[in-house]
C-alpha cells in the first residue's frame, strides 16, 4: 500500500472563549493576524504593512482585504529583498511611523540579520536615545509544517535571543497571537513576531473582534502541576500539553505547563518560581539542540534554582542537523521523545 503522508504530531488545544474583551468570532491563526493588523491600521493612521506579496493577501492570507480597506500606500509589495524590507522598515520607524514588515518565511530572515542585529537592535542605545526604531515590528511564518524541509521549517529564535535591543515573541494560538502581535506593534522597541505556520489553518478558536493586548515578557502557566515543569513556545506548547496528560495518565505525574510566549526578554521569574516548586524542568523546541534557546533557560535555571533541582534539566529538541524533508517525523521533538525524557527525569 502506498505510504500516506503522516498526520500532524500535535493536536491544537483551543483555549476557552475569552470573556473580558467583548464580542468574539471564530478565527484561525491567519485570520487572527489579519484582525490584529486591521485593528492596528484602523487606529494608527501612520501604520503601514509591506513585504513580498502582501498586497494580494499574502502567501498565508494574513493580509487579505487590507489593501482594499486601507489603500495601496498603506499595504504594499516591496521588491524581493529581505535586507531592504527590514532596512526600509527601520527608516519608517525612525520617523515615528508604525512599520509592520513581513518576511515571507523565517528561513529567509538571514539577509536582514545585519539590519536587525546591527541596526534595529542598537538604534536607541547607540544614539543615546536621540533616535529609535521602536515602532518597527517584523512578522515571519515559523516552525515545522510537515513538509517544509530545510527552508520552510526553521525556528531561528535562538539567533535573535542573543541580541539585546529587540524583542522576540512566539504565540501558540489565534487568541494569543492577536493580543501578542498588537502588543508588539504598540511596543516601543523593535519586535520580531514569529507565527507558527502549521497553526495558520489548524488552530481555530474564539477570538475577540476588538483590539486587546497580551503583555510581552510574561510567560503563561497554562496548567498547574507539582512534579515537573514543562516549558515550550509556539506549536510545541500543544505537544507538551499532551505529554502532561500522558504523564498524568501513565505515570501519575502532575506537570506544570508553561508557554514562554516571549523569548527575549524572557520571563525568568515565572519559570524559576515553577521549578522551585516542582524541582524538575523539561524544555522542548523544534530548533536544533546546540545553542538552542533551551540552553539559555537551562543555564539560568540551574544558576537560580540549583538546590531545588531533583534531576538534571532536560532538553528535547531538534537534532543538530538542517531540517530534513522526508525524515521530518523522525526529526521533530514529538510527544514520545518528550514523554521518554520526562520518564527518565522521574526516576
Amino acid at each position: 500500500a502506498a505510504q500516506r503522508r503522516h498526520v500532524a504530531h500535535f493536536t491544537f488545544q483551543p483555549d476557552p472563549e475569552p470573556q473580558e474583551y467583548g464580542q468574539t468570532q471564530k478565527m484561525n491563526l491567519f485570520q487572527a493576524i489579519t484582525s490584529a493588523l486591521d485593528n492596528s491600521l484602523a487606529k494608527d493612521p501612520t501604520a503601514v504593512i509591506f513585504g513580498e506579496d502582501v498586497a494580494f493577501g499574502g502567501v498565508f492570507r494574513c493580509t487579505v482585504g487590507l489593501r482594499d480597506k486601507y489603500g495601496k500606500d498603506r499595504v504594499f509589495n516591496t521588491p524581493l529583498c529581505e535586507q531592504g524590507i527590514v532596512g526600509f522598515g527601520i527608516g519608517i520607524a525612525v520617523t515615528g511611523a508604525t512599520a509592520i514588515a513581513e518576511i515571507q518565511f523565517a528561513d529567509y530572515i538571514f539577509p536582514a540579520f545585519d539590519q536587525i542585529v546591527n541596526e534595529a537592535a542598537k538604534y536607541r542605545y547607540r544614539s543615546g536615545d536621540l533616535f529609535n526604531c521602536g515602532s518597527l515590528t517584523i512578522r515571519a511564518p515559523w516552525g515545522c509544517v510537515g513538509h517544509g524541509a530545510l527552508y520552510h521549517s526553521q525556528s531561528p529564535e535562538a539567533f535573535f535571543a542573543h541580541c539585546p535591543g529587540i524583542k522576540v515573541v512566539v504565540p501558540r494560538s489565534p487568541f494569543q497571537a492577536k493580543g501578542l502581535l498588537l502588543s508588539c506593534i504598540e511596543d516601543k522597541n523593535p519586535c520580531i513576531f514569529f507565527e507558527p505556520k502549521i497553526l495558520y489553518r489548524a488552530a481555530v478558536e474564539q477570538v475577540p473582534v476588538e483590539p486587546y493586548n497580551i503583555p510581552l515578557s510574561q510567560a503563561e502557566v497554562i496548567q498547574e502541576g507539582s512534579d515537573v515543569t514543562l516549558v515550550a513556545w509556539g506549536t510545541q506548547v500543544h505537544v507538551i500539553r499532551e505529554v502532561a496528560s500522558m504523564a498524568q495518565e501513565k505515570l501519575g505525574v502532575s506537570c506544570e505547563v508553561i508557554d514562554l510566549r516571549t523569548i527575549l526578554p524572557w520571563d525568568v521569574d515565572t519559570v524559576c518560581k515553577s521549578v522551585i516548586k516542582t524541582g524538575r524542568l523539561l524544555i522542548s523546541h523544534e530548533a536544533p539542540l546546540t545553542g538552542g534557546f533551551a540552553s539559555e533557560i537551562s543555564s539560568t535555571v540551574q544558576e537560580e534554582c540549583f538546590l531545588n533541582l531533583e534531576a538534571p534539566i532536560s532538553r528535547v529538541c531538534g537534532y543538530d542537523t538542517p531540517f530534513p524533508h522526508i525524515f521530518e517525523p523522525f526529526y521533530i521533538p514529538d510527544k514520545w521523545k518528550c514523554y521518554d525524557a520526562l520518564r527518565k527525569m522521574i526516576n
Partner: protein, 438 residues
C-alpha cells in the same frame, strides 16, 4: 488594449559640440499601472517584464566606461565661473557661510586628528578634500530635511551649526555627548538638526533613508531625505536594496554618493568595473547625475534641483559627487602604503574645494588675505577652546552603560547593572572611576 510605456534607451549622448546633452540622463518613467492587460496579437514583445522593440541583430550592449557620464561643474579649478547661467548667484552671506563651514571643519579636523595621535581620543576620521560635497549639498536643503550619513559628512553638521563643543563631546565621549558616550568618535547624531546618528556598518543607512522618505511622503511633510555614502559602500547589497526600493516605491530621496577614489586602500578600479555609481541609477529607473564634488556650486545646483523635483514628483535622484580623499581613511590608516604623495599633493594643491571657493570669493571682492589670516586665527582659537573644555569634562556615569537598550530597562538587565555596582564597590580601585561621573 495595449500596454505602452516609453523608456529612453540608455545611450550616453553628447550634443554636436561634444558637451553633455542634458544634465540629468532621463529614463522617462510614467506611472506604472497595475498590470491588467492581456497580450495583443501585434508583432511587438508582449512580455510583462520589459517595454522594448524586437531586434534581429545579435549585439551586446557595450558598457561605456571610456567616455562615461560627464562631470557637471560650474567653476573651473581656479574658482572662475565657466557658464554664467549656471552661477547660482548665492548671496555673499551664504557663500561666506559655505567657506567658513569648510575651513572651520578643516581646522577642527587638524586638531582632532592630532589629538588622536597624542592619545587624547581613541580614533578620528578627517574630511580633507571632501568639504565641498558636504556644504554644497547641505546648503541646498531645508534645515528640516532628514540626513542619513555614512561617516565622512561632518561638514553637513557644521553647516547646520552643530557646535564645536558637541563634535568634541562625541569624540571624547564626555558627559556632554548627546550619544552618552556609547560610540567611537565621529559617530555624530543630532535630533534637533535632523541628522540621524551615524553607525559603523556601511550602507545600512541606505534602505533606512528610503523608508524615512516613504514616511515623509505619506505624511505630506514636504521634506526630502538625503542619504550619503561612499563609492565603496555602494557595492553593498543594502545599496542595491535602497535604490530599488526608492524607485519602485516612489520615494522623495536624494542618494548622494561621495566618490573619493578609495575605500580605505581599495581604489575604484578594484571596487567596480562599470561607469561609477551614477551609471547604476538608470538601471533602477533613477534620474542620475555626476558632478564635480570639489565645486561647491555644482554640488549646490544639483542638490537644489534634485530636492525640488524629488519632493514635487516623489521620485529618487542619484548624485555622484566626484572628489578625492586627501587624508588617510582614518587614524588607523597610513595611506602612503598604497598611494603616492604626488597624487595626494595634486588634489591638495590643484583642485581643492576650499581654495576654489576662496578664489571665487576673492574675485568677487568678498574676501581677502587679511580676512583669511584673521579667520584662520579666530577659527583655530574657537577650536582650541572647545578642545580644552572637552578634555576637562568627565565621562558619563557607568550606569549609563545599561540604559536605552530598550525604552524600559528589563529586569535581567537591571540585575546586571546592580551586579556591576556591587563589583565596583569592592574592586573599584582597578577601574578608571576618577574620570567618570558617579
Amino acid at each position: 488594449m495595449t500596454y505602452v510605456q516609453t523608456i529612453q534607451p540608455q545611450l550616453w549622448r553628447t550634443d554636436a559640440a561634444g558637451g553633455p546633452l542634458q544634465h540629468f540622463s532621463r529614463p522617462q518613467l510614467p506611472q506604472r499601472q497595475e498590470q491588467q492587460h492581456f497580450p495583443s496579437l501585434d508583432d511587438k514583445p508582449q512580455f510583462p517584464g520589459a517595454s522594448a522593440e524586437f531586434i534581429d541583430k545579435l549585439e551586446f550592449i557595450q558598457p561605456n566606461v571610456i567616455s562615461g557620464i560627464p562631470v557637471y561643474r560650474v567653476m573651473d579649478r581656479q574658482g572662475q565661473i565657466i557658464n554664467p547661467s549656471e552661477d547660482p548667484h548665492l548671496p555673499q552671506e551664504k557663500v561666506l557661510k559655505l567657506y567658513r563651514s569648510m575651513t572651520l571643519l578643516n581646522t577642527m579636523d587638524r586638531i582632532l586628528y592630532e589629538s588622536q595621535r597624542q592619545g587624547r581620543i581613541s580614533f578620528y576620521m578627517t574630511n580633507y578634500g571632501e568639504e565641498g560635497t558636504h556644504v554644497g549639498s547641505a546648503a541646498a536643503l531645508d534645515n528640516t530635511d532628514l540626513v542619513f550619513g555614512q561617516y565622512r559628512e561632518a561638514g553637513v553638521l557644521m553647516y547646520r551649526d552643530y557646535p564645536l563643543e558637541l563634535f568634541m563631546a562625541q569624540c571624547y565621549g564626555n558627559v556632554s555627548d548627546l550619544g552618552k558616550g556609547r560610540q567611537m568618535p565621529v559617530h555624530y547624531g543630532c535630533r534637533e538638526r535632523h541628522f540621524v546618528t551615524i553607525s559603523s556598518p556601511l550602507a545600512t543607512q541606505i534602505p533606512q533613508a528610503v523608508g524615512a522618505a516613504y514616511a515623509a511622503k505619506r505624511a505630506n511633510a514636504n521634506r526630502v531625505v538625503i542619504c550619503y555614502f561612499g563609492e565603496g559602500a555602494a557595492s553593498e547589497g543594502d545599496a542595491h536594496a535602497g535604490f530599488n526600493f526608492a524607485a519602485t516605491l516612489e520615494c522623495p530621496i536624494i542618494f548622494f554618493c561621495r566618490n573619493n577614489g578609495y575605500a580605505i586602500s581599495t581604489p575604484t578600479s578594484e571596487q567596480y568595473r562599470g561607469d561609477g555609481i551614477a551609471a547604476r541609477g538608470p538601471g533602477y529607473g533613477i534620474l542620475s547625475i555626476r558632478v564635480d564634488g570639489n565645486d561647491v556650486f555644482a554640488v549646490y545646483n544639483a542638490t537644489k534641483e534634485a530636492r525640488r523635483r524629488a519632493v514635487a514628483e516623489n521620485q529618487p535622484f542619484l548624485i555622484e559627487a566626484m572628489t578625492y580623499r586627501i587624508g588617510h581613511h582614518s587614524t588607523s590608516d597610513d595611506s602612503s602604503a598604497y598611494r603616492s604623495v604626488d597624487e595626494v599633493n595634486y588634489w591638495d594643491k590643484q583642485d581643492h574645494p576650499i581654495s576654489r571657493l576662496r578664489h571665487y570669493l576673492q574675485s568677487r571682492g568678498w574676501w581677502d588675505d587679511e580676512q583669511e589670516k584673521a579667520w584662520r586665527k579666530q577659527s583655530r582659537k574657537k577650536v582650541m577652546e572647545a578642545f580644552e573644555q572637552a578634555e576637562r569634562k568627565p565621562k558619563p556615569s557607568p550606569s549609563l552603560l545599561f540604559s536605552d537598550v530598550y525604552q524600559e530597562m528589563p529586569t535581567q538587565l537591571r540585575k546586571q547593572q546592580e551586579a556591576l555596582a556591587r563589583h565596583l564597590q569592592t574592586y573599584g580601585e582597578h577601574y578608571p572611576l576618577d574620570h567618570f561621573e558617579k
